[in-house]
Structure formats: C-alpha cells, structure tokens
C-alpha cells in the first residue's frame, strides 16, 4: 500500500497539509504522482506544512515532501530508508507548496530497492510543472565493487543550517499568503474589517511553527533585512552548492541526525559536531538541489 503525504492532492479528498487552515479543503484534481501511480492510495497526515515533526508514520511506503527534515529524523530512528530525488525530477503538480526552490516529492520505504522502483514510476518530465529537468530516469543496481573511502572537509558546513532556514522561511512565507480566509479553507467567525478577517483567520488556523516560519520569512524579506539576510543567504547558497565536489566523489556519507533516539528514562543528547554534519546532510542536499538517501 502506498501512502500519500496530506499535502499531495487527490481529487475530491481533503488535502489539509496537516493544517487546521485546510481541514475543509477538498482537492479539485489529482496530483501528477497520483495519476502516474494509478493505484489506490491511503492518506497520511504529517506535521503542518512539513514544519512540525509527524506524530506517526504510516506502515508502508510513503510519498512526501520533506523539506524541513522532520520525516527523515523519524525515519532514521525507525531504521527505515528515505529517498529524496534530485530537484525537478518528480512533478509537483498537485503538491501543496512550501519552499518552491526545495519542494520535491520523495519516498519513505524499507529498502532502497523499493524506493527506487517507486521513483521510477513517478519521476520524469511533466509540462504542468514549470521548473523540471526534462530527462530523469531512476533505476537501482547494487555496485559491482566495494566503494573506496576518503575523508572530505566541507568548507561551509556551519553556514548550511542558517542559510537553509532563511531561504526556506522566506519562500514558505510567500506561499502561506494565499491562506487568508477569503476564498477557501478556514475562515474566522467574528471579524469586522478585512484586516481582522486576515489576522483572526491566520491566528486561529496556523500552528506555532507555521506562524514562526511566516514571521521569520517576512523578516528576512523586509526592506530593512533583505540585504543582510535573504540576499546574503542566496549568495551563500551558491557557495555551498559549488563547494560540494561531486566531480571528485560519487557519494557523500554523513550522519542523519544529531540527537540520539529518545530512550525511556533518558534525556536526549545533542553533539554539536554531529549536528552540523546532520545539517549538511539534510539541508545541504536541498540547497544544492542534489538527491539524498538515508
């Protein structure tokens, strides 16, 4: 059974993206991945707009857009596999957008083979998505020989996490603007002015992480902070992308998570060094538009 993240549209079914804002939003059409899968799918409600950790993961293969990495963390704790394809290889037609330059439907699965075979069915050019690479095919083969290992220094490791958050928050703040109570989705009940309709609707229907993202994103794009935050982050992103030398190596192996799984009776632990590397693993792939497997 294939499960769909609640931000992937299926005609006539509620697609809430885990948000109270969209709990009455019935999708008007099928997402391209749904059409390509062409089999009955179940829905899985994850964290609101991917900004919160999911309360649980379904028992089966899951298609989701894990920009903020919360799904990947749970996947790592469970010993599952998460496969994020290269940016622009799976159609986002019918995906509720978060951060457009990083949005990409990926797969949570038990084995890489299972994930790749699913990707092979959904990847490939779609003219309904305006930002795609025309030719992308996926297949999975075991390498014939054992890999040779090298140590690599990553020069901008400490930039990855802040750059990711500035860009992702800025982009998602723009995409959250459409939820204003005017056309569809949640609308606050008691309002007297347009301003009040907007404010009450968004205050009542967005969760904490979503509000934080909207506010932080607006801040990064505001006249006063644009140069220091957004513009600088855009340039740093280029540096990070160019620093990843996939001409020298084929695969970059990094830890997925900086915290140990929470065990009964023990506090969770964080190691700074590991955290940075984890950031490169999750968000570095997003910033550079590379694929990632965990």
């Amino acid at each position: 059974m294939v499960y769909l993240d609640d931000s992937i549209l299926q005609a006539g079914k509620i697609a809430s993206a885990g948000s109270k804002m969209l709990r009455n939003f019935a999708a008007p059409f099928d997402a391209e991945v749904v059409t390509r899968l062409n089999e009955p799918c179940e829905r899985a409600v994850l964290g609101e707009f991917g900004l919160e950790p999911p309360k649980s993961l379904p028992d089966g293969v899951l298609l989701c857009n894990d920009v903020f990495g919360h799904v990947r963390t749970v996947v790592a704790e469970r010993g599952l596999c998460s496969l994020r394809p290269t940016y622009g290889t799976v159609s986002r037609y019918g995906l509720i957008p978060t951060a457009c330059s990083m949005d990409q439907i990926g797969v949570v699965c038990r084995t890489p083979a299972e994930g790749f075979s699913l990707l092979a069915r959904i990847a490939g050019h779609d003219e309904k998505d305006g930002a795609m690479f025309p030719d992308a095919r996926y297949s999975y083969e075991k390498p014939a020989q054992a890999p040779r290992l090298h140590r690599e220094a990553l020069p901008y490791a400490d930039l990855v996490e802040p750059v990711f958050h500035i860009l992702a928050y800025a982009e998602i703040s723009g995409n959250l603007s459409r939820y204003d109570g005017v056309k569809f989705g949640y609308r606050a009940e008691n309002y007297k002015t347009l301003e009040e309709l907007y404010t009450k609707t968004r205050t009542e229907a967005f969760g904490f992480e979503t509000k934080l993202a909207a506010v932080m994103g607006c801040l990064a794009l505001s006249q006063d902070h644009y140069a220091a935050l957004y513009d600088k982050a855009l340039r740093a992103r280029r540096l990070i992308r160019d620093s990843l030398r996939f001409d020298l190596y084929d695969v970059l192996v990094l830890p997925v998570e900086s915290r140990l799984p929470v065990l009964a009776g023990l506090p969770s632990l964080t190691f700074r060094g590991v955290q940075l590397a984890a950031g490169v693993k999750n968000e570095g792939a997003l910033l550079a538009a590379w694929e990632a497997l965990s």
Partner: protein, 481 residues
C-alpha cells in the same frame, strides 16, 4: 511672476493579446460573466505550479522591438507580496531584477516639433482581479477573471513637459503595440491604462519638485484634463503655500474634474520583493528574437506610406485606415479578396463606419466578414447591383451574415439593365407626370430629380441610375417622337 516647468513620467500598463493567462491555461478574453475564466491556479489554490505562457514572452519581445529597447539576455521573475482580496495568491508575479528589456526610445511629434522619449524598462507581470462593491447588501464580491492575465508595464523616464507630449506618446504607443499585435490597447476596456507621475519646479531648476501619481484615467481626454488640474494644483501650492504637497497617489475623478488623495499608506507598504523560485530564468536568445522580429506585422507608418504611394490612395483616407489596427486589418483582408484598394477604402470609410456609428461602435469595435464584404464591393463595382442595394445588403451581412451573391439571386436584386423595361417605365412616368416633364423641357433641371425618384421607385430601386438618367433624357428630348 515665476515660470514653472512641469515634469512627468508615465507608467503604462498594456494587456497582452494572448489567448490564455500568464501562468495557467484559462482564457484571457475580456467580457465574460464573473469568475467564468478561473481555475485552481488563478484562484490561488495550492498545488498548481506556475507555468509561463510562451506567447506572452513573445509579445513582450515584440513590444521591446517596436520600442527600440535593449532585450535582457536572461530575464527572471520576482514575487511582490501584499494582502488584498483581489490578489488570490497573496503575491503578484512581476519582474524587478531582470525585466524583459530596458532603455527603449520612442520619437513623438507635437505642434512643438519632434522629441525623443526614453524608456526606463518594460516588464511582464500578472493582472489582479476585480472587486465589486454591492451597495445594496453592503458586501464586496470578487471576480477573478482578470487575475493572472498577462500585462506589460512600460515605464518611461521623466521626459514629458506638456500634456500634448503625453497624449502624442500614448497615441504612438497604441499604434506601435496594436499594429505589432502586442495588445488591442483599448483604454475603455482597460487593456491600456496609464498612471502619470507629475511634479512641478521653477524653470531652470535642476531639482525635481514633490511628486504625485495620478491613477484611474481611462481616456486621452481624461489624462489631459488630469494633468492640467494636477499641474495647476502644484503651482498654486508653490505660489500660495496654502497647501503642502506630499508624495502620494491620487485618483482622478473625471465627472468632477478633480484629483483626490487615495489616502493609502502607499509608501509604508513593504512589498518584500524576492526572486520567484517557482519560475526558472528565461533565456531570450538572438535566434528567437530574430524570428519574432521577422514575423512582426507592418507598422502603421509604413502601411500609410504604402497606401499613399504604391496604392495611390488619398492621404486623408489612408490616415483614417492606419489610425486603427482594426480598420487596417479589415482593409487588408478585404483587399486580399477583391483587389481594388480605392473601392475597398471607400466602402470602409463611407459605408461600414457609418453603419458602425449608428450602432455606437468606433473604429476599433466594428467587425465584418471580409470575404463577404469584398464580394459585395465586387458586385457593385461590376454593376451586378447598384450602390443603394449594396448598402442594404451590407446591413444584412452585418446583421445576419448573409452571402451577398445568394441574397441578390434569392431576392431578385440584380441590376435592371433591360433598356426595353426601362423605356416602358420612363414612358409611364412621363405620361403620369406631364407637368414635371414640361418643366424639364422648359429648362428646370430640378424637376429631373423628381422624375428620377419616381422612375427608380417604379423599377424597385434596382436599376442602374446612370442608364435610367440616360433613357429619361432621351425620351424628354423627344427621341421617341
């Protein structure tokens, strides 16, 4: 008494003549019922990525070419963020960092001579929807038909000094853009809109005065009136000090003939512009541009020269035809079916426009099936029917779309050129109107008209008037006796 100089810059919005909207496949046609041309994308629902309309980019390139602008090698799109109910996504997709072109030039001509107006840039953007206030119920409704309809905004430098220059520039833009097929440029329907930035300074001063922006003018007349009013308001403020000028946006009220402050916190709004990550940069390569350049239709000026030169048509008529892209198209298409330019022009200007005027339509709104129109002109020209029958058939073509040849045959309207028939009619009329006949013979030419009228009527209006006149004179001068 101090001398003042008025300094103006223009922002002209022109709707591109595409079939569909800028980022979805909805129709961009004007005049549909509210919310008829709406899909999940242009209603702001999540899940439909923006896919750029290639035709809009081509029309933008055409606009760049006819305004002698420098085309940007790689153009990009940005998001302008603000909340308003007519903007369903909460952002407008526009071009800030790399617009389609910059540094254009246009030559205008006024009573004061020729002048070059320079353009800062042209950028592509999407239109917003329309709010409809229902005073009866006190509610506001929103119509998304116009959301995401492609526009170009043509931003000039502050090169204008008189309202005459502004009007000449707008007429030039309208002619260039409509003939290039970029837009139909109808101010009344809002497919061409103009905002004027205006400031006043003492003559000779190098410093610009406080600037105001006037919006909401939907005719050249209104623009000229608004400029006159606003310039005088600025001068009065500078002279008397009774009013302090502030940088603001003002709305023109054409009925009252005054501008009013829109009291918007315009300058306090932070639009949080940023590069739109949804739309990939667009490369405008030389081969593509050349392809568009070579496909550009003939501009009005060249067409005028061809009409007055090669086709030998009068300047007055050629100016009327090339003053409107629509008339010019009707001329071309009709001429393609019947190659007599003089008669085609004549029929368009004298007959077609007269009927259009009666229906309250202008040069830009009149429409006719050009193949049928050409056939009709040919029928009259070849003396198959006479001109007054031709006029009636033109009405029928416009109203019911009749085929002129079939209509003539079915209703037996062919020209009566049977001399025997005409002669019998002349004899009958002369014998019934002996008094008038005697008057004509006595030298009263006026009575000829009366007799002609009687004759044409008795022949069912279908005879060739020249032939009838000939036969009448023959019988009056005693030819038959």
């Amino acid at each position: 008494m101090k001398q003042y100089e008025v300094v103006m810059g223009l922002e002209v919005h022109v709707e591109l003549a595409t079939q569909s909207k800028l980022f979805c496949s909805c129709s961009a046609k004007f005049g549909a019922a509210a919310n008829e041309h709406v899909c999940p994308a242009c209603a702001g629902m999540p899940g439909m990525p923006a896919v750029l309309n290639k035709r809009a980019v081509e029309l933008g390139i055409a606009a760049a070419l006819v305004t002698n602008s420098e085309i940007t090698p790689v153009m990009t799109f940005d998001k302008k963020n603000y909340f308003y109910p007519d903007l369903p996504t909460g952002y407008q997709i526009t071009q800030i960092n790399a617009p389609i072109c910059r540094n254009g030039r246009l030559e205008i001509e006024t009573g004061a001579g020729k002048k070059t107006i320079t353009l800062k840039q042209i950028h592509i953007e999407e239109d917003a929807g329309k709010l409809v206030h229902d005073a009866r119920t006190g509610t506001t409704l929103v119509d998304f038909n116009r959301t995401s309809v492609p526009l170009i905004e043509i931003v000039s430098n502050p090169d204008f000094r008189t309202a005459e220059e502004v009007v000449a520039y707008l007429e030039k833009l309208r002619s260039l853009l409509s003939f290039a097929g970029v837009s139909d440029c109808k101010m009344q329907e809002g497919s061409m809109r103009c905002d004027v930035n205006i400031s006043v300074r003492e003559a000779g001063s190098g410093v610009l005065g406080t600037r105001t922006e006037i919006k909401n003018m939907n005719s050249l007349k209104a623009i000229a009136a608004a400029i006159a009013f606003e310039a005088q308001r600025h001068i009065d403020a500078l002279e008397t000090g009774r009013e302090t000028l502030v940088q603001e946006t003002r709305r023109w009220d054409d009925a009252l003939g005054e501008s009013f402050s829109m009291r918007e916190k315009e300058n306090a709004t932070d639009y949080r512009y940023f590069p739109n990550p949804e739309i990939l940069p667009v490369r405008l390569d030389g081969a593509w541009i050349e392809q568009i350049r070579s496909a550009l239709p003939e501009p009005a000026r060249e067409k005028f020269l061809r009409m007055t030169g090669e086709l030998g048509l009068p300047e007055v008529d050629s100016r009327i035809i090339t003053g409107s892209k629509n008339l010019s198209d009707i001329f071309d298409r009709t001429l393609a079916s019947y190659g007599n330019p003089r008669e085609v022009v004549n029929w368009i200007i004298v007959e077609l426009l007269a009927i259009a005027k009666g229906d309250n339509k202008g040069e830009d709104d009149v429409s006719v099936d050009c193949v049928k129109f050409a056939k009709l002109i040919e029928l009259v020209d070849g003396k198959t029917i006479n001109r007054s029958v031709g006029k009636k058939i033109l009405q029928k073509i416009l109203q019911d779309g009749v085929d002129p040849e079939a209509y003539v045959a079915e209703n037996n309207l062919g020209l009566v050129s049977d001399t025997g028939l005409i002669d019998r009619a002349v004899q009958t009329v002369l014998s019934e109107n002996e008094k008038s006949a005697a008057e004509v013979r006595g030298g009263n030419e006026k009575a000829v008209g009366f007799l002609m009228g009687k004759l044409m009527k008795s022949l069912g209006g279908k005879a060739d008037p020249k032939l009838v006149n000939e036969r009448l004179r023959y019988w009056l001068t005693g030819g038959g006796l």
